[in-house]
């Protein structure tokens, strides 16, 4: 009996042409921005398991995952939308859906993928399996101009939310009936929203403003209340520093009722009290923050910085609101991604052609992987997080 089972499994392997069965929960992708390639990585083994090329211009690439955690949807700068099979390690489907895109999102039910475009300005929505077009939403404003769109996220209720950089608007799109998208537009939300994030419970959509101080807040439980301004008086009268890299709003740190966001044009991380959305403090940091990312348990926040101070990562204790460590991973730290339960963080160091893995408790380096000009790092655990 045993022998027969063994024989069968050997046969199965031979027929499949692959070595072992495996899950994808500890896999992810590392974008190699300059070469239009990525690496599929294993976060348990700390190694790359498959390089993959032919993904076009990945100079600003982001990734979402199918809910079975098998497929990575890669959004490229050139408007490319690529569905990568991370189990087989190949490109399953690829389309060029616009001239210039910035990111995307996957719907609550996993059936729709939306892409945020600069050119032509708007959002396009595709079937997640076939990549056939489902809906097109031009971001039209004023006298028929099209706005660049940013900060696209999925939200509960089969909705997508995004911001219009040039128009200063937030649009909420209900895709419950894919053939008839229901769009709610919020106007005059503030000048030049540059990115946005969603609280992990899917309730609050918050857009950062480049053209003025403060953040724009939309309560998705009560969209009828409209968009309100948060921290409107923040930094009033202070001279901002030149901004050499737009901050990103992604991930959301909450601890003791505080949220942590990058300040624009300042060497500070802002602490916002979520009960009344008032400023609860500012933490002086090494440079202008780009990513302010919470460890999944919310106890630490890791911060990287804009050019020319981008060789550094700092760690904030969210209880004391103090800096607890300053790390120097190397030249041009672009992104950080925590393992699903946060014991490690992977950091891409572009100009060193390396990805460094740190233990988050001791903040010491545990592993190094080689990668060509690595930028974004995305792990499959994002598949089950709203807004990522």
């Amino acid at each position: 009996m045993h022998r027969r089972a063994l024989l069968l499994s050997v046969l199965a392997i031979a027929l499949n042409g692959c070595t072992t069965l495996r899950g994808t929960g500890d896999l992810g992708v590392v974008i190699e921005r300059a070469s239009g390639s990525l690496q599929i990585v294993d976060t348990t083994a700390h190694k790359s398991i498959k390089p993959l090329s032919g993904l076009g211009d990945l100079s600003h690439a982001s990734v979402v995952f199918s809910r079975d955690e098998r497929y990575a949807y890669v959004f490229g700068r050139d408007g490319g939308l690529t569905r990568v099979d991370i189990l087989k390690g190949n490109i399953d489907k690829r389309i060029i859906q616009s001239g210039n895109s910035i990111g995307g999102a996957i719907s609550q039910d996993g059936r729709l993928v939306a892409v945020s475009n600069y050119e032509p300005g708007g959002v396009r929505i595709f079937d997640a399996t076939t990549l056939e077009p489902v809906a097109e939403i031009p971001a039209e404003y004023g006298n028929g101009q099209l706005s660049k769109t940013v900060g696209l996220v999925d939200a509960p209720g089969q909705r997508f939310v995004f911001s219009l950089f040039d128009a200063g608007e937030i649009w909420l799109v209900d895709m419950s009936k894919p053939a008839a998208p229901l769009i709610t537009k919020f106007r005059d939300i503030g000048k030049q929203p540059y990115d946005a994030l969603l609280s992990p419970d899917g309730r609050y959509y918050i857009a950062g403003l480049f053209g003025e101080d403060g953040l724009a807040l939309l309560d998705l439980w009560h969209p009828e209340n409209g968009v309100t301004r948060v921290l409107a008086n923040y930094g009033r009268g202070e001279e901002k520093l030149p901004v050499y890299k737009m901050p990103h709003l992604e991930g959301w740190a909450m601890a003791g009722g505080f949220a942590f966001v990058p300040a624009v044009g300042r060497h500070e991380v802002l602490v916002v009290r979520m009960s009344d959305w008032q400023e609860a403090g500012r933490i002086k940091v090494h440079g202008q923050p780009v990513f302010v990312m919470a460890r999944p348990d919310g106890r630490q926040v890791w911060v990287n910085f804009a050019h020319p101070r981008n060789d550094t990562v700092q760690v904030i204790n969210t209880e004391s609101l103090q800096l607890i460590n300053t790390l120097k991973p190397g030249k041009a730290v672009l992104h950080m991604e925590f393992t699903p339960r946060g014991e490690e963080v992977w950091i891409s160091v572009r100009d060193e052609d390396r990805v460094e893995v740190y233990d988050t408790d001791s903040q010491t380096k545990t592993s190094t992987l080689n990668a060509a000009k690595p930028s974004g790092i995305f792990f499959t655990s994002r598949a089950h997080r709203t807004g990522l």
Binding site: S59, N100, Y118, Y244, H307
Partner: protein, 122 residues
């Protein structure tokens, strides 16, 4: 080398009689000097262009949050305008001033490269 360029500009503005002289004698060496940055610095500048300018204008410079920097869009714009935009930034837009990191000579060289088209290799 940046001073020689500055001098050229001043001469052109202040002395019309010397203008011809400068055009025939003085300017050509000055322009030749402008492209004689150390090769290592030129490589750094191209890296900065691709990677850091590229974070808004796209790594291939075809545009992103910021507009395209390809020759078909900026090739015929006055170089002085482009140089000043890089050095001083543009108020009301996301374009920051780069003068704390780059001098006029370096920016002139970058603008020259941009207007004729930077080879596509990253």
């Amino acid at each position: 080398m940046s001073s020689s360029l500055t001098h050229t500009t001043i001469w052109l503005m202040t002395s019309s009689t010397l203008t011809l002289l400068l055009l025939t004698v003085g300017v050509s060496p000055a322009l030749a000097n402008a492209s004689e940055l150390p090769a290592a610095r030129e490589a750094e500048l191209i890296h900065l262009l691709r990677q850091d300018c590229g974070s808004c204008h796209g790594m291939t410079l075809k545009g992103g949050l910021g507009p395209s920097l390809l020759p078909e869009r900026i090739g015929t714009l006055p170089p002085e305008f482009l140089i000043n935009t890089v050095l001083e930034g543009r108020k009301g837009t996301a374009m920051p001033p780069w003068k704390s990191m780059l001098n006029r000579e370096e920016v002139s060289w970058l603008v020259e490269q941009l207007q004729k088209g930077v080879p596509d290799a990253p």
